[in-house]
């Protein structure tokens, strides 16, 4: 059990990271990067890069309100999250954990 926890903390799949980010935003609604960071268990610098990447792909949108930054899912992001949920078991079976 200890060994498993250790290995899981060192490697994560890209698809799993995207899933965790989108899922956190879907559960929380428009969310601050800090909350996404905890929800997706990512260090801030990596989260920042991932959010920029997801924004470029049109999966999340940045909202600025009173100098505060939030991220929300776009319809395309919600669609991709749903698809990731559907293929989750399949991807797990072929060695992709998330």
């Amino acid at each position: 059990m200890t060994r498993r926890t250790k290995t899981l903390s060192r490697y994560r799949s890209q698809a799993g990271i995207v899933y965790d980010i989108l899922n956190t935003i879907a559960e929380e609604g428009p969310t601050s990067p800090t909350r996404i960071m905890y929800g997706a268990r990512l260090p801030y610098d990596r989260l920042k890069n991932m959010l920029e990447h997801l924004e470029e792909q049109g999966l999340v949108k940045k909202i600025i309100e009173d100098d505060r930054v939030f991220y929300d899912l776009t319809p395309k992001g919600a669609e991709v999250l749903e698809e990731l949920r559907r293929v989750r078991r399949l991807l797990r079976s072929i060695g992709i954990r998330f």
């Binding site: 060192r10 799949s13 890209q14 260090p43 792909q57 991709v80 078991r89 079976s93 072929i94 992709i96």
Partner: protein
Amino acid sequence: MDGHIGYYAVFTMLALLEIISAAISLIIAVKAMGIARKIKDKGLFRLGIGYAVMCVALVLGFAAALIALLYPVNPVLQLQEEPRHMEWHHLGGWRHSPWPGDRFGVSWNLVLLASVFFPISYAVILLGLSGEYVRFEQGSGEKLPGLIVAPGLMVGMASDLVSAGLLIGIIILARKGGGSVGPYIVFLASHILRLAGESVGTPLLFLAGEVLRPIALLIVLARVMLG
């Protein structure tokens, strides 16, 4: 095995398993590439391509089994008719082709071609997995005069060796990431059985390896369906 019910039973089962598993690997490829395209995930995309290549290999395997079914041969008679067969035996180096369908015909060549596609697919899957997983810190007998083998057998043996090596890499990588390794272990067992079959020229071992390989993909299907 010509005329024996066992011959038809084995190749019917093999053909069915190959085509079912080809369909499964195609579904995996389409799903993985589809989602990878949307999230711009190169690792997952490569993994999908790997399964697409595997689908081609399985279709070739299906075609080989189908040809063996449609054009049954008597492998024992065929061996005796093989020119220089006994001569090779006297030299002590002849290794039989382990494919009982048509030991030197089209179906055997298709099996060999599929054998080449499998390590390619594993290599692409390995490449995909290595790109997909990111390491990061959590926020929180008698001496022979020479080895004489059945035509193409070296291709099959080399492919199985390479496949086994690549699969070990895949298993290590997927295990590190915490992903499921069950199907890859079955693939590995299949290549080891094939290799054993090819080494001693035993059709039974070779066919067991052939049958086991599609079963790996059936395991994926069962896991997806049963959860």
